[in-house]
C-alpha cells in the first residue's frame, strides 16, 4: 500500500475467553491511575 502502513498488532479475538494469568492492572507500579495497555499477556498456551 502506498498511502497506509499498518503495524503488526494483536488480533482482538473474543473466542478464547481469557486465561487470567496476567498481572492485575494496578499491581505493579501505578496504584493510582491504571490502564491495561501496558500489561503483558501471560497466556503460555498461545
Amino acid at each position: 500500500m502506498k498511502h497506509i502502513i499498518t503495524l503488526d498488532t494483536r488480533e482482538m479475538n473474543e473466542a478464547n475467553g481469557g486465561c487470567g494469568e496476567c498481572q492485575t492492572s494496578c499491581q505493579s507500579a501505578c496504584k493510582t491511575s491504571c490502564g491495561v495497555a501496558n500489561q503483558k499477556c501471560e497466556n503460555t498456551a498461545e
Partner: protein, 455 residues
C-alpha cells in the same frame, strides 16, 4: 471507531475495535477523516484541488482493502460479552496486603493519609497475613500466578512479618501448584543490605518511591520532624536498583501542581542511574492547593510529548529508559477480555487491612461502606462485588464514545468514585491525561517501527 492524530511528524490512525495502528500520508489522513460521512465521489471532489484524482482513488482503494480485512472502521463486537461479566467467576488472583498502617514519613499528599487510611495506626500480624495468603489460595481456582503486594503505609516497618509471610507462601506454593509473585512498595527509609538481599531473592518487583529532584522530593516526602528524606534514600535506592539486575523494579514518583515540569524529575532520576520509571499525577481533592488545574493541562501534555521524544533519543543513543505508562506491546499485549473487564478491583484484586478486612482495592480502604468482608468469612458483601464486576468499560456511559477505552478498560474505580461519587463514573481529568499518554506511547511504537522516518 477511528481515532486519528498527528504527533512528532507522524499521521497516526487507530482503529479502536481491531486494535490496528496505521501510519498514513497526508492524503490517507484526509481520506480516512472523510470516509464515513462521504461517498467516494464526494471525497474525490472534496480533495481534487490538492491531490491528483488517481492518487485519491488509489488511497480509497487502500482504505477499502483494510476495511475488508477488518483493520479499519471495524464494528464493536465486544459489547455483548461485557454484560456477561456479572456471571464471571469469583476467582481472586491478587491481594494488596496492608502490612503496616503506619509510616516513617509524613507526606501531606499521601492518599493513604500518612499510611493510616483515616484510621488508627496498625501492624498486620503474621497470623492475619498467613490467613490472607490461605484465603488467596483457596479462592484462586486454577490460576497459577498469584500476586501479593506488600503495601502500607511503609511495609518495611513490619519487615519480619513480610519475610515470614514470604517463607510461608514458598512453603505451600508447590503443594498448591501456585506461583507467588511478590511486590514490595517502599519509601526507602529502612532499606539496608539485608532488605536488598532478601527482596532480590524473593520479590518479583520492587516499587521505590522518589519524586525526582531534591527540592521536589523534599517538598512532600519529609519525616515527622519535617526533614526531607532525599539525601537518606537516594544512595540506598541506587544500590537497590543496581542490585536488582534483571529483576523488575520501578522508581515511582508523584507530580503535582507544583512540578508540572515533571520531565525534569524523570530526567533527574535517569541521571541518578535509574532506568525503570513511573510518574503519577497526584490524586487529591480539587480544592487542595497541590491539585492539578485546568491551566496545568496543556503543560502536562507538552511534558508527555517531551518525554516520549527524549526516550526515543535515549534509545537511539543506546541508553534507554522505561516509562511505565509508555510500555505498550502491540503484538503481545492484553487480550480482549483483559481490555474490557476493568482493573479487577473488588473482584480478582482485593486489599487486606492489618486486621483482615477486605476492600475492593487499596484506595477504598478506610471507607467503611466499601468493606467487602474479611479473610475468615470471605467476601460477604456480594452485592458490592457484583457492582465491581460491572465496572468495566461498557458499564461507564462516559466511555461509550471514547477511542481509548480498550487501552484503559474504564480506568480507576477509586478515582471515578472520588471524582463523581460513583464507581461507574469517570475521573475526566485523569482520562484526558491517559489519552495523551496513549497517543505518545503509540507514537513511540510507530517511530521504532519506522526508523527512517521523522523523529
Amino acid at each position: 471507531m477511528i481515532h486519528q492524530y498527528k504527533l512528532n511528524g507522524y499521521n497516526i490512525v487507530l482503529d479502536v475495535f481491531s486494535g490496528s495502528v496505521h501510519v498514513v500520508d497526508d492524503l490517507g489522513y484526509e481520506v480516512i477523516a472523510l470516509y464515513e460521512k462521504n461517498t467516494p465521489e464526494e471525497i474525490v471532489k472534496n480533495l481534487a484541488d490538492r491531490y491528483p484524482e488517481s492518487e485519491i482513488r488509489d488511497c480509497l482503494s487502500d482504505v477499502e482493502e483494510l476495511k475488508s480485512a477488518g483493520k479499519l472502521f471495524t464494528e464493536d463486537r465486544f459489547k455483548p460479552i461485557s454484560f456477561d461479566f456479572k456471571k464471571r467467576s469469583n476467582v481472586i488472583k491478587a491481594l494488596c496486603l496492608h502490612v503496616a498502617h503506619t509510616c516513617n514519613l509524613n507526606c501531606s499528599y499521601c492518599f493513604a493519609s500518612q499510611g493510616k487510611y483515616n484510621g488508627e495506626r496498625a501492624i498486620m500480624s503474621f497470623e492475619v497475613g498467613r490467613r490472607a495468603l490461605d484465603f488467596l489460595v483457596e479462592n484462586s481456582g486454577k490460576r497459577r500466578n498469584l500476586e501479593v503486594d506488600f503495601f502500607g503505609g511503609e511495609p518495611l516497618m513490619n519487615w519480619q512479618v513480610v519475610k515470614d509471610l514470604v517463607a510461608y507462601a514458598r512453603s505451600i506454593e508447590k503443594e498448591k501448584n501456585k506461583n507467588f509473585r511478590f511486590t514490595l512498595t517502599t519509601n526507602g527509609v529502612l532499606v539496608d543490605d539485608e532488605v536488598i538481599e532478601f527482596a532480590n531473592r524473593e520479590m518479583s518487583n520492587v516499587v521505590m518511591s522518589i519524586d525526582g529532584r531534591k527540592e521536589v522530593h523534599d517538598r512532600f516526602r519529609v519525616d515527622y520532624a519535617g526533614k526531607g528524606s532525599y539525601d537518606n534514600i537516594i544512595p540506598k535506592f541506587q544500590k537497590f536498583a543496581e542490585a536488582r539486575g534483571d529483576r523488575s523494579y520501578y522508581v515511582r514518583g508523584t507530580y503535582t501542581h507544583l512540578n508540572t515540569d515533571f520531565t525534569e524529575d524523570l530526567f533527574h532520576l535517569a541521571d541518578l542511574g535509574f532506568t525503570e520509571l513511573s510518574m503519577e499525577p497526584v490524586v487529591t481533592a480539587p480544592d487542595d492547593p497541590v491539585a492539578l488545574t485546568e491551566e496545568d493541562f496543556p503543560k502536562l501534555c507538552e511534558q508527555y510529548e517531551i518525554l516520549a521524544k527524549d526516550m526515543l533519543r535515549r534509545k537511539k543513543d543506546g541508553k534507554p529508559i522505561t516509562f511505565y505508562h509508555y510500555m505498550i506491546d502491540l503484538s503481545h499485549g492484553p487480550c480482549i477480555y483483559k481490555r474490557i473487564s476493568g482493573c479487577g478491583s473488588g473482584t480478582e484484586y482485593l486489599a487486606v487491612t492489618p486486621w483482615g478486612d477486605l476492600y475492593p482495592c487499596h484506595q477504598f480502604v478506610g471507607d467503611e461502606k466499601y468493606k467487602m468482608g474479611d479473610i475468615w468469612q470471605g467476601v460477604t458483601n456480594t452485592e458490592l462485588r457484583d457492582e465491581f464486576k460491572l465496572t468495566n468499560v461498557y458499564a461507564r456511559p462516559d466511555c461509550e464514545n471514547c477511542w481509548a477505552k480498550l487501552y484503559c478498560s474504564g480506568g480507576c474505580a477509586a478515582n471515578a468514585y472520588h471524582a463523581t461519587g460513583d464507581i461507574r463514573g469517570v475521573y475526566e481529568y485523569g482520562c484526558r491525561l491517559f489519552k495523551k499518554r496513549m497517543e505518545c506511547a503509540i507514537m513511540m511504537q510507530v517511530a521504532e517501527n519506522m526508523p527512517s522516518s521523522a523523529e
